[in-house]
Symmetry: D3
């Protein structure tokens, strides 16, 4: 008896359905736009498009920083395209450090799942806010500000971070200064570091000039 | 005498004109983006693109809800693409009802053109706000909240509704719960309805599982 | 049996409820902000706050333009504050005209309820788009562009317009040019109108200088 | 030797510092605005303002749904005000369920920390997307759409959810329909449920009318 | 010794890098979208894409208004696409005037580089704000409002203007009213100007009808 | 004869006028909000509020960086509040340098007024884009990315910069790392600089710890 009702409504809206934009799973084959990637056809989507297992695997921390960052940004998880949110996983082995960095396009919230992490950020007013975070603690890092995370536990620590953008970007300070072809003279003039220090770090970080 | 003046200005801006983005009439043949559809070429547009007659015809209310919703969203009226606004027409025969629903992407304002309508919404704080509206009255329904409209007139009622998005979306509660393949067990667990009630409505609304 | 359930959930969220921001009915006694007015206390609100009857009364068209505009912007209808939408009513007697104007802060959609209206706008590319609209027709006027409405019916016409802002603003061309203390010399230099024409209109429209 | 340099720069910017808006920790004593709460004085803030321990404690799941939601929205964690992000913790005991609900103001990403969760949402096009999520899996729930989470593990499950707003809101379906004074007649008309079902759930969920 | 570190981080993020959206230099060959043009491939960009020399050359002021406007909007300077900013250069010879105009899509800030400029705007409340600006002075013109600039120096004046959009648009009043095919009757009805005045300006400004 | 016309329209809109939000000149005495400061009463404003002379005076470059930055952000120029734009003046004496810095909240466009400037930025993809800019050249620096400006002229250089926010913020790298109480151990761990280098710069830049 109710059948005709909703079918009627459905038909009335069927044309709207064709373009309803509850979500816009990124078609990474097309060029990006300022608001994100064009959408995949809704008809091609399944529940698999809205879930991602890539953060279930610990990153490889057998490196000098004894840490790993595993992102679930739009490039890895196209379903967040246009939804203003994304995630990443931080694995910190003993002594692990996520070096000073910024996310030019998003604020970040971190939740500690395992271990103890010393995290902090520096404001435009040049004030430092840093704190030791324990299991279950959360901390916010406002958009675009320099921040860092250091494992202060005797064992490994694990955290998940969320961002207020599907594509927060990442600028790692040392790599930006010393890991590219920015001439030593320019680095020196703009950072007050001695040329020797700059050249040493450039050689270490694969930079040139 | 003034002629050279403006021609000069025109030439100066002619390249800007080519991309001036006062509006962006949707090219529905291209994939959507998080901000809306790509724009049709301005040179292909006429005044016809900016007007729409589809809301001039009463919807067919010879159905169980004795009501019809006729949308002028971006899919029907591509000129609203990117402009943050759209409309729809509500026809309510005697006893007509627009069932409980939400618009995930927009707030709504309703104006009563004919008859009397009892309309309401429920807030996140779970407060109910409902009111009988007469000819010329308007009411606002904030984004994403459950709301409804019921004809409380002896004859037909007519209303126009406007939305704060070119693509507000529509989620009709009964249809979302009972008109698809969501398993009865999941509906039951998440709504506290008895399986018998769920199965009956599923059969009625064309749902399965 | 279910009672404890939801009470539990309610308590868990009671602190969130205190600040849930589904809507933000304007407290017009407080200073505005770039995003709109501060919100009235939710506990002080009733269904009356979300409805408005001011558009149910025809505006007085016994004036030279034989037309009247009755707004339901945030100042008249505080419930739209922050929701990105508002409305107005246009009454056009025979020969009525809404003079050339812009809304600096919103796009507009017009729906004809009665009569026949010739409406149009001019784009940044200087193209004119105008059209005769009949009962039920809608037309969109993109943000910030000069536009107008003229009654082309033998009798009165009525339209409702919606805006993509709670506070669209209104700049009536003649009043902006001739209805204030902008010196005649500046008007002349910036519009190429003869001083005589400017002075005449200034005297007519209550302008000085 | 470098000292004067930066002091000079600091002085040049000292007035800017006074209002730099990297963040805007909510002053919950003042009225909300459409963009969030007014900011606390920066000089009154310490690192404690940017961290929160409330999600470190499991919610009480000794209730009928065997589940608990612990929010860290702006009301609990004022530092997220204006930053477009917030979090919550989901504790699901064996058989636990987060009933069908929406967040009118935000999209959500869930990450499973412990156990196994069956989660899903329903689109405006009325398609159901649900999936069993294991430890480390993430899933996105687009803004304003009905969604749910069910513990499908033999033991307790734990998840953290992030939102694309500091104040996402929460509308629990059953509570919205049956936990308030919305008259049974209106619920019946707008949901197609029998009056008996509505009255039973109302009595159970503390609703009246 | 540090080498492995950052390489590791780089690899972890290489997939993110592929789509990082710090900027979106416009590919003007593709259709525009409501948020701007699709992005050129990052790999195709050099420093030349982020700089523009077009504002280094004075515009030709040998015309009736003795003024020239040289834009650096997205059409001329694709690097600003999606960044919410653009610029233009104003050259005003002795007696030069930038006629009354609006930018439908942006607010504007002007800085005087040479000479003396009388600039002003008219608000929605119809108040006129105008002021004589000297070298180094800046003035703001809020979005969508009628404004003008007049050289009040004995010699040439130069100013740079910045806009809060990559594509602010430009509507020059006289050209909008008299430089197109808008019928004289409609201009007359909507501006209160005499048909003779309208026809004269139309003939002068290349308008018809 | 026209007088009654516009008076009528004025009265109809007089209530709207009271709150029209073309602009929102900041009342710096009130607390900031995420969207900017509350607005001063429109009735208290004059043309002086919309202009600012602070950028007409060269900054004092008799310091180690031989440079000065003079901002016209909302704190100095309250009229830009909520308009998404602001400016600053850069004075660079011979050898002058604006050290590596970011603006967390805005993109920037620079125009060279006098001299020659070598400017550049580093992307999230770690690519360096730098270029020598001559008089009249403009360059864009996308939001949140490290960038710098160096005078490459034999004499002084002058530039004006515009921002896509009324409150862009400023984070000067050296000052953020070495000019505050961030413990040397944390700086060392997060930047790979030797403790000796950090301690030296801390002592120089007034930092402690």
């Amino acid at each position: 008896m109710y059948l005709p009702v909703l079918l009627t409504i459905t038909l009335l809206f069927s044309s709207a359905y064709a373009s309803v934009n509850d979500f816009c799973v990124a078609d990474m084959q097309q060029p990006d736009t300022p608001s994100g990637f064009p959408c995949k056809k809704v008809t091609s989507l399944t529940e698999k498009d809205f879930a991602y297992s890539g953060l279930g695997v610990a990153g490889n921390t057998t490196n000098i920083i004894s840490a790993a960052v595993t992102p679930a940004f739009v490039a890895q998880f196209p379903a967040v395209n246009g939804l203003g949110i994304s995630m990443a996983r931080l694995d910190l082995a003993k002594g692990g450090v996520i070096p000073m960095h910024t996310h030019p396009g998003a604020s970040e919230v971190l939740v500690v799942i395992k271990g103890t992490i010393c995290a902090g950020f520096i404001s435009s007013a040049n004030t430092v806010y840093f704190k030791t975070l324990f299991k279950g603690d959360i901390m916010v890092f406002p958009q675009g500000l320099l921040h860092f995370q250091i494992n202060s536990d005797d064992g490994p620590s694990l955290a998940f971070v969320s961002f207020s953008s599907a594509n927060p970007g990442l600028q790692i300070l040392d790599y930006a200064l010393f890991g590219n072809e920015l001439p030593t003279e320019l680095v020196t003039k703009t950072t007050f570091l001695d040329p020797a220090v700059v050249k040493k770090l450039k050689s270490v970080l694969g930079g040139s000039g």
